[in-house]
Each structure stands twice: as C-alpha cells, then as structure tokens.
C-alpha cells in the first residue's frame, strides 16, 4: 500500500522534527460504495505558520517540492483519485496545517442509529486484496452498523493515512476535521490504527481538543496491552484475527461504558480542558510520611523472596508511590482508579467520585442505574470459533470486592485465579495483588516466575504481606490521613490551573468542582490555547520554552507556560487584571507551588 512512501524527499521535509500532520477537511464526501473509497479532494490550501528561523530555508523547500509532487502522484494512483490540480498545492514547511476542501461529493450518513461516536481498530497489513477488506477490521463500534459503513469509514481513514504519510512518514495523520465529523487517528502499534469519528453537533458541549480524544484512544490501547499484550502479538498468535477480535470487542465496549453518561457517551469536552488524561495524580507527601511510605515499599519489594516485587500505593485516588516506570505506572494507576481504589469499589453504591466524574458533576447519574452498553450476561459476538467464555474482561464493573483478609478479590480471571498483567518496561507478566486498608490501596506485582506453585505461593505472598507489612500499612494510612487535605487539597484560591510534568507523566489540576465555576468563555479560551500549544509542541521534538497569554471574550486570562517538559495552564478570571498583573500572578504561583519552575522572565 502506501508503505513505500518512506522516501528521502518526504523525510527531508520532515527533517526538522518529524512532527505530526494535521489535516483539516472542511467538507468532504465520498462515494460510499463498498470497495473503494474515492475521496474527492478538491482544493488543498495550506495555512502555515512558519517560525522565523525557518524562513531562510526557502530554497530547501523548493528543491524538495519536486520530489514531493512525484510522491503525491504515486499516492494518488494507489489510493486516491483526485481531481485537484497539483499546482494549487503548496507546502512550504513541514509543520503546516493542511486544510482539505472536498467540494463535489457528499458523504453517506454515518449515524444510521443516531450514534454520535464511531470507533474502529484496523490493521493496515491485513486485507490487502480485493474482497478481503473485511479482514482489516479488528474492532468497530457501534457493532451493529453494516459492513459497508464500516468499510467506508476504514477505507477513508486508510486513504488519509496513506496520503499524509507522504509528507510525514513517521507520524502520519492525526486528525481530519470535516463539517460534521472529526476523525481522530492514533497509530497504536505499527500499522495498527485506531480511529475515532465523533459527530459535531450544534451543542456547545461538543467542542473538544483533538489531543484529548487521542489520549482516550491511547488509554484504551495501553490498558488493553497491559491485560492482553499487544494487538500484534495476538494477531500473530492467531492470524485469522478471531482471537484479537474476541478480546478487543468486550474490552473496548467495557471501556466505553465508563464514558457513558445516561445513554450518551461523554467524550472529554472543553470542560475537561484543565485535565490531562494519561497522567498520574500524585499525593504530596511530607518528608517523614514519604520515608514511612518508602519503608513500606521496601517491605513490599521483598514479599516474594529474592525476586523483587513492584508495587504501587494509592491513597484515595492519588498516587503515593510507585516502583514502576512512568508508562506502566500510568496504566496501572488508571486501572486502579477505575476499578480498585476505595472510591472505585464504593462507586457501585455512591456514584460520586470527584476525580473521575468531576466535570460532569451536574450530569452524572448513578452509574449503577445507567444502562450498560454491554451487560456482563450478553453473549459475545465475533467469537470466530474461539472460546469466547475464556476472554477476560478486566474492565467489567462491580467485579472487585474486598475480601476478609484485606485483599481485593475478583472472579474476572476465573474462580480463585489471580489476575496477571503485562509490564511494558520489563516485558514480563506479573500477578496483580491488591490490598486495601481504608483509603489506602496497595497494588503488589509479583513476577510470575516467582510463583511456582500457583495459588499456594500466592497465598504465601499474601501471608507475607499481612505479616510483615500490616504494621507499616497502618502507620502509613494514619500518617496520610492526618496530612490529607481533602478533595480540595490542591486548590489554590484565585487560580484555576493544570500542571503537567511530561517526564514523569504526572499532572495536578485545580479540583474539578472549582474548575466548574469558570465561565464557559474562559474554558473555551483555555481549550483553544491548549490546542495551539499542542500544535506547537507537535512541530518540534525538542522541548522548548514557551509562553502564551490569551484574553478571552469575558476578559479572563488564559495562560500557558512551557518549560523543559513541564507545562502550566492557567485561567485567571479577574477582568480588571492587566497582562502584567496576570504575569505576576503566574510568577508567584510558580514560585510558591512549582519551585519556581515556570519563572522565566
């Protein structure tokens, strides 16, 4: 397919950074026929923001323009039929935003059943031949749409990926904005793509940030990998694809259940703009508490004899300590907050958890009463000859409960079976044991190698934990509860902020209850600001320092500061503030709460 486009010409374009390619398609139409996707692309106009230091590279661009035209032609032959003339096509810098104007064609209605979201997973390496296109599809949501609709969505996505790879082979298309839909792309694994199609409706709530949507895709995928291993490995295990389909279907559906509010899926909208998915929220510890925690970690480390156990400790929904790499920590943290912590366990009875559903406070209905998209008793489709009953569904609700000994139990992995997960960092499978004492949740990861006698060894490890660590657990819980500032502990009055540390994958934000008090205009301004920053960031790999201040319609200030991997977004709703005042506020915030990280003037 379009894989041969890893050309020197294109990569010379991408030499400056290899950033993502954002295409914005304002109107587009396609035939809707079952086999070919014929995206008519009319006029390509390019809007580019060229940093001043790239100005003097003009000659370079002219040279590569030739190569790139050739590639474009090839690509057209392969996938796209385009009526556009290539001379209207001008790209001067790699990090431009491509706006696609399809004119002549209309698109078949995608939301046959009023569904506002489509989510698909497909493998570009499969179904290369005519008639076998269905083979590509690994997952499609909603499951009840016709194959032709599924194929048309995937065909379009594939076409766009192939096309954009010409310009940016390393990171192809990220998003296509059409009039009524946004297509968000995420390449989860090489040639395995996840695409989310969201409907733009008139409601104001449907304003989102592309990165936030992408983070959703990323989160589903990494959670999936944590439990089942990579999609590719499952495909390799059973090339017919039945296995992966039978795993993906319940998993993603269970995940989407979490997003559903009432009967609708609630996607991260602009209201959640002061939040960062895919990061960990940490509890700030005093030194003595930290030492107690670390001492507990030391005990947990050695609970399975000589082999070191990893552990994760949470207090309420905040991370206290981890011995895992940031990526693994994020995955496990996400899962813990979703299903394991005391708040998650009690969510069956009380629907409210300020961290998970904070933004939709007003709309949240009790989860238990909300209809589940896939009930646990539903027969699993797409079995493809596989024993569907054996598929593990770790994201099912209300499957975890606290046992008598303080350890959490579940029958997701089968009766009396201990859950196992896959760690990316060490590439090993580990048993997951969760222990809970009041609001303290301990997740202990025991290497499978250390467990020779199955459940016997597991119960030995549990015994070790109870024997050696109980006293310390009590002490830590006591210390943390004493220092616990409640759900609004990290509220700084006068500020609404989001702090992201990309290195550690840690974020901290104003409590959502407080963010909810911001005016809609302010939130929209921050959303806009974040989008701008996302674009800027994707243009270059090197971390840079950046400061952007926007004055919103309601005279609020939206401020972003980036410095060496750390980001600070802030809303200041004091209409009387001048820019100078706003900067001073940021400065004092930075000095007081971020060790002066963002003091850059």
């Amino acid at each position: 397919m379009g894989n041969e486009t890893k050309s020197s010409g294109a990569s010379s374009l991408g030499g400056g950074g290899g950033g993502g390619f954002r295409a914005k398609m304002e109107h587009y139409v396609y035939s809707g026929e079952k086999k070919h996707v014929l995206a008519g692309i009319g006029i390509f106009t390019v809007i580019f923001g060229i940093p001043w230091y790239l100005m003097n590279r003009g000659s370079n661009n002219h040279r590569s323009h030739q190569d790139y035209m050739e590639k474009a032609d090839k690509a057209r032959k392969a996938r796209l039929s385009s009526s556009s003339s290539s001379d209207k096509f001008s790209i001067k810098a790699l990090d431009s935003v491509v706006r696609v104007h399809p004119q002549a064609m209309g698109m078949a209605s995608m939301n046959s059943n009023g569904e506002s979201l489509k989510l698909c997973v497909f493998d570009l390496r499969r179904g290369q031949n005519e008639g076998q296109e269905l083979d590509k599809i690994l997952f499609f949501y909603p499951p009840d749409v016709s194959f032709s609709t599924q194929l048309s969505v995937i065909g379009l996505s594939e076409g766009l990926i192939t096309f954009t790879r010409l310009f940016s082979p390393e990171a192809a298309c990220e998003v296509i904005e059409a009039e009524r839909h946004s297509h968000v792309f995420y390449e989860a694994e090489p040639d395995i793509w996840m695409v989310m199609v969201v409907e733009k409706n008139k409601e104001i709530e449907a304003i989102w940030r592309v990165d936030a949507l992408q983070k959703v895709l990323k989160e589903v995928h990494s959670l999936f990998v944590m439990f089942h291993g990579s999609i590719r490995s499952l495909l390799d295990k059973e090339p017919t694809g039945g296995l992966i389909r039978s795993h993906l279907y319940p998993f993603i559906t269970d995940y989407l259940n979490d997003l559903s509010v009432g009967k609708k899926l609630q996607l991260p909208s602009f209201r959640e703009t002061l939040k960062e998915r895919g990061t960990v929220q940490m509890l700030t510890l005093a030194r003595d508490a930290a030492l107690e925690v670390q001492s507990l970690v030391g005990v947990l480390d050695s609970c399975a004899g000589t082999l070191r156990c990893h552990s994760l400790i949470l207090f309420h929904d905040l991370l206290v300590s981890t011995t895992l790499s940031p990526d693994d920590t994020v995955d496990l943290f996400t899962y813990s907050v979703m299903r394991l912590t005391s708040n998650a366990l009690s969510s069956g009875t009380s629907s409210w958890s300020y961290l998970r559903k904070g933004t939709s406070l007003s709309q949240t209905s009790s989860r238990s009463s909300s209809p589940q998209l896939v009930g646990s008793s539903d027969p699993l489709p797409l079995g493809n000859g596989n024993d569907a009953g054996r598929v593990i569904r770790p994201l099912q609700h209300n499957k975890w409960s606290k046992g008598k000994d303080g350890f959490l139990v579940t029958d997701i992995w089968g009766k009396d079976a201990t859950p196992t997960i896959w760690l990316q960092q060490s590439q090993e499978r580990v048993h997951l044991l969760a222990y809970q004492h009041k609001c303290l949740t301990l997740v202990l990861l025991v290497p499978t190698v250390a467990i020779v006698n199955g459940e016997l060894d597991i119960s030995f490890v549990k015994h070790q934990v109870i024997e050696n660590a109980s006293a310390k657990i009590l002490k830590v819980e006591e210390k943390l509860s004493k220092g616990w500032g409640g759900e609004n502990a990290y509220h700084v009055s006068g500020y609404r902020y989001l702090l992201v540390d990309n290195d550690m994958e840690v974020s901290r934000a104003s409590p959502s209850g407080k963010v909810a008090t911001l005016a809609k205009e302010t939130l929209l301004a921050i959303n806009k600001l974040r989008e701008t920053v996302d674009t800027e960031k994707s243009r270059t790999k090197q971390e840079k320092e950046m400061e952007i201040c926007i004055r919103a319609k309601n005279n609020a200030w939206a401020i972003a500061r980036l410095t060496r991997g750390k980001e600070l977004y802030m809303a200041l709703e004091k209409a009387s503030d001048t820019l100078l005042d706003a900067t001073d506020s940021v400065q004092s915030f930075s000095n007081r709460y971020c060790n002066g990280t963002f003091s850059m003037d």
Partner: protein, 740 residues
Amino acid sequence: MKEKNSTTASTLGRILATCSKQAKDYGSCVASKVHEVEKDLCLKEFLALKNCMQHTVKIMSSRPSSSQTSVGSGALSHAYIQHPSLHCNIPESRGLFYDDANRLLICVTSSQVFSWETAPPFNPDVSPSVDSVPEGPILSVRFSLDEKVIAVQRSDCEIQFFHRETKKKLTHKCRAGSESILGFFWSDSPLCDLAVVKTSGMDLFACDSAMNLRLVETKKVNVNWYIYTHESRLVLLASGLQCKTITGFQLSTAGVVRLPKFEMTLATTESNSKPIISAGDVHLVTVYGRIYCLQVDREAMLLHTYRFYRDAVVQQGSLPIYSSKLSVSVVDNLLLVHQIDAKVVIIYDLFVDSRAPVSAPLPLLWRGYQGSDSSSQAANKENKSPESSTSNENIVMYEDAWAFLVPDLILDQTNKVLWRVHLDLEAISASSSDRTSLLEFLQRRKLEANKAKQLCLGIARALILERRPATQVTQAIDVLVTAYSYSVKAGIYKELKNEKTTATPPTDGASPDNERGRASGSSIDGEEEVEMDLPSGSSDEQQESQLSSPAISPDELYKFVFASVEETMVEESDYLVAIITEFLRSISAEKLKVDLNIYVMTVRLLARSKRFAELSLFITNKIIEPSKEVALQLLESGGQNLRVRKLGLDMLRQLSLHHEYISSLVQDGYYLEALRYAQKRKVTSVRSSLFLEAAFASNDMQHLAAILRVLSELIPGFKETSEYYTFHGLLNETSSSVAV
C-alpha cells in the same frame, strides 16, 4: 568491625593472610614435587609455615580481640581477670582490708598501714602509701573520705582514729558489755561524717577538722549484722531470729533517709525450717544508677532481687543459682554472679525486664596480658608476659580465699594479689545470636565504649553483608540510632573527632574527601575498614580514653557501615537502598542529621539499578535532601536518563547554584535559556566562551550575534576581550548581513 573474631573462618583467613609467603612456598614445593611426593619432602617449608601460623595465633590471642582462642585455660569465657595483678604481698602482713569508699586496698602490719589506690583506671603498678599506726589488734581499717584520718577498729568496743598530718589520736569506745561495735564507715552526708554500727543500733557522728566526734543521732535497732556499700550509700541492718528483717538507711548527700522495713523471702524445707541469712548472703549492687539488693535463698536455690526506691522496696524476681557459695561483682553495670562451687560466672543485665542471663555460664578466665589497656604495657609485652605467666601459674580459680570486693575487684588472699574483673565483649557478642538485643546490650556499655562501638559497627555491617531480612537490619539500625539520639540528648555523647570532621568535610564531592582523610593519617579515617579495629598506635588509644559512650553517630554509621559495604553490595543495590531508606526513616524520626554523602550514595545506587521512577520520587518527596553534591550526582547519573539529569538541573536552580546551573544548561545545548538565566541573575562567572562556542557549534549566526550582544551588556568591558573579537570576526565573515 571485628568480623574476624566472630567467625573462625576469618581467623584462619587472617592467619593465612599473614603467612601467605610461607604458604605459597610450601604449596609450590609440594606442587613441584608432586610426582615424587614422600614424607618430609617439603619439611623445611612446612615448618616455616607452621611456625608462622603458630606465631600469628599467639599474636592474635595476646590481643583481647581473639579471646576465644585464648591462652590460659584455653576455654571460652565472657569474663576474665587479667595479668598483671596488683601485688600486695607485704612481709609480716597481718591482714588485708578494702576501703570501698576510697577504693583503697589496705594491708596492715603490726605498726604500719599500706594502702594502694585501686580506683579506675586500675593500675597494678601503683606503689602503696605507708602510714604508721601504734601497734595493736586491727579488726578493720577505713580512711576518712578526705583520706586525712585513718580509723582502726581495735576491738568490738573500741575504734581509734589517727590524723595523718597532725598525728593526733582519738579513741572512741562504746559501753562494754551491753553492746558491741559491728563496724563503722565514713559518710559524706551533710548530717554526719561517721557511722558506727553497734548491736543496739547505729550512731551517727559529726567529725570536725580537729577530729572531735560529736554524736548527732542514734538509730535504735537490734542489729545482728549489717552491710554497707559506699557507692549506694546504703546501710542495711539485719535483725530478727532469721536475720530477715531489714532496716535500711541511705546516708546520701541529701541527708539520712530511712527506708521502709522489709522482710526477705526465705523458703523453708523440712530439714531446715528456720534458715538464717548471713551477711555474706546479701549483696548490695549498683547498676545503671539503681540500687538492688541480692539475697541468696539456699533452700530454694534462688537469688532474690530487690530494688530500692525512695519510699519502697520492691522484689523484682529471682535468678536461679547453681552453687551454694555465691558472690557477685558488677562490671560496667552488668551483674556477674560467681557460682563459686561450679566455678562459673553468669552475667545478667538487670536493665532488661527479662531475667535471662546475657550469656551461658562460663568459667572466669585468667588471661596473661591485655594489649590495648596501656601503651607502656604494649611496649614491654614481649619480655613481660612470659615472666609473669610463670609467676602466676599457681592461680586456682575461685579459691576459698578469694574475696569479692565492691564493685569489680577480686582479692586473692593466699597469693596476696588483687585483680580486676573484665568483660570480654567480643566473646559475649560472638556467642549471642539475637543481634538486636546484642546491639542494645553493647550500646549500654560504658567501660569499653570504643570496643563496644566497634563491635556494633561490625555487627551492623555483618547484618547487611549477610543480607539479613530488612526487618532485622531495620531493628538493628533503630537500636543504634535511638541510642545515639538518647546519648546526645543526655549529653553523654561528645563529638570527639573534632579534628577529623574538620579534616573531612564533604566540601567538594567525595574524592578529595578520601584523599584528605588519608593524608591526615588519623587511624580511623585513613585506614580501611579491615584495620580499624587494631589497637595500633596512640591515636586509637586516645580515642578509647575519650570515648564515654558507644553511641554511633549517623555520620559514622554511614562512613563505616554503608560506605564500606557499598562496594561489595554492587549486585544488590535494591537491598541496600531499602536498608538506607530505613536508616533515613529512623534518623528523621529522631530528628537527626546525616552526612549528605549518604544521599549521593542513594542516588548512585538507584541510578545503577535503573530505578529512575523511584529516584524521582525520592527527590520530589525530599527523602533525598537537596544539596549541591546530590545535584551533581544526579547530573552524572543523568547520563543514562534525561529525566534524572533534569532533576539535577532543577535542584541546582532551586539551590540557586547559578554557576553550575548555567554551565549544565549550556552543556545540554540550552545555551539560550542559560544565557537568559545568566542575564536575569546577573551571573558573570560562567565563561562567556561557553555560550559563544555552543552557539557557533549550532551554526546559528543569529543566535551568536544575539549572544554577543547580551554578553557585552552583561559583562562590562566584554567588547575589549579577545573572545569578542574572535567571534565578532567569525560573525562578520559568515554573514555580513547580521548586525550586532
């Protein structure tokens, strides 16, 4: 420290190490003649090796540190008496007395009184002072507390006093017939200076400088016998048929306190329904500042303990005894119960609630020579020890004529020698398996504080090297840290290594630290851990005399335990980190400070085992306290991990170490940020060429121009420097269009 003592294997290792040459010779001899091997073929080499090994053993055993493989009876022991003893063999001696108030050993002849100082430090070579007294029978002798007056009991109704300077003489008599004098002692209570115990009670007298006695008070009690020790200032008067009703008075500096009367416990059997307690069955001991009374109950074979409080006497359990004849000594606050018939001594630590002995019953040992006690002995040990060992070969342990003097002296009345009882801490620690309680035990030792300290360090190190479970090591560390914190609070611990701490301040990272320590030549710092325990040279000895507490400061723990095991624990840094965490927790619980090198070490260990996530947790939670050294270590370890490097940079910035921060930023290629920072903070110490070269290397002429401009504003006179010309010239060459 003394690992070699705790395991026999290391003893052998030491021997072999010393005799490596001979061993090699013998080995190569055998190897070369392996085909024609026959008896005595390599005899010469073998004999050389044998001699060397025997010699080494001898040297080692002459040291107190290798007590188990000892001379003398060759048996294991935890307590020993040691040559040289104090010889008090005066011709025509009429008797030996001990004045426990002044710690004088007194030998009397018909007209003279010889007295030897025995107060610690016990010096056997002290010469006696001689006083002459008129002839006559002498029942007991005691010097007044200022040692100006000698009081001599002549009979059961007469005591004579002689002033040593004025030669004044005074005779005190009691009513003959109706009462008799049981004894007397001097007191330092403000009320009285002298107490005379008679069968009818106790008379307290004041004595002025002119030696006039004035009766102050009389305590009427029927007394069968009494005991008194000066260290407790307590006199117990026994009355009743079985002598088990005890009236006690404490003649302390606060006045005379009457203790409540109490009855001793006595078991009765059919054969002996009314056993009688004699004075020899009751002992007063003072340990850890508490006063105990020990009473032998022969029928029950128990030693009852009573503790004296101001207003109460409380029985505190009983110790089993294995001998009808019994005596006690107190060494370094430990109770030594001599089971004389069984010829063993059992050591108890009354500090702990349990009445279990510290160690198994073992005989008291006679030991020929102790090396580390005084340097003069060390000098003549070669010629002295053989001679004295022959002279003392007729020692019989626990002879009938032995008298046990308060607190820790043994007087052999047959041989007329006086010994001091010593404890062998190494042997005790070697025989104890519970390291935590052993450490507690050692931390309570005052007498041989340095030895106890070194043993503690050795135990701590061994625990880690043996990879004991972290909980065990934690307990041990807690013990040491709490003991230190306690002794600091109590003011016992003195920072005695002033000159050393100034010699090794962690100013510029670790390496110069080391060198300086070596250069200063002070024994502890300079020599590596193997040598630390050797009683080599004078500095060690000084230390021993200075050291009043075995408490180990966190810095020393770091230096002698953690730093010294780091090398060997490379493979197990996880374990070591866990231990260090516990150490830090323990220290922070006691609100103590520690050498920041331990933080540097923690960073190094975490980075080595690639635990970067935890490392950043340690930093953000301030478990590792920020410092320049830590920051530099982070930068160094950050070579493998950018995040770690950033942590180091952040730390530099937070510590306002502008120069280092800017240099590191430039090094990472962030020269613009660095320059901006320099401009803001007005830092001019960073070489300007750093920025210029970085910008030039990035081939960005605009940046170069900007930097030149900023620098010429920042540094006065920059435009005159050669750098400015060089780069300005370069700039003009490359692009004439860019204006500066």
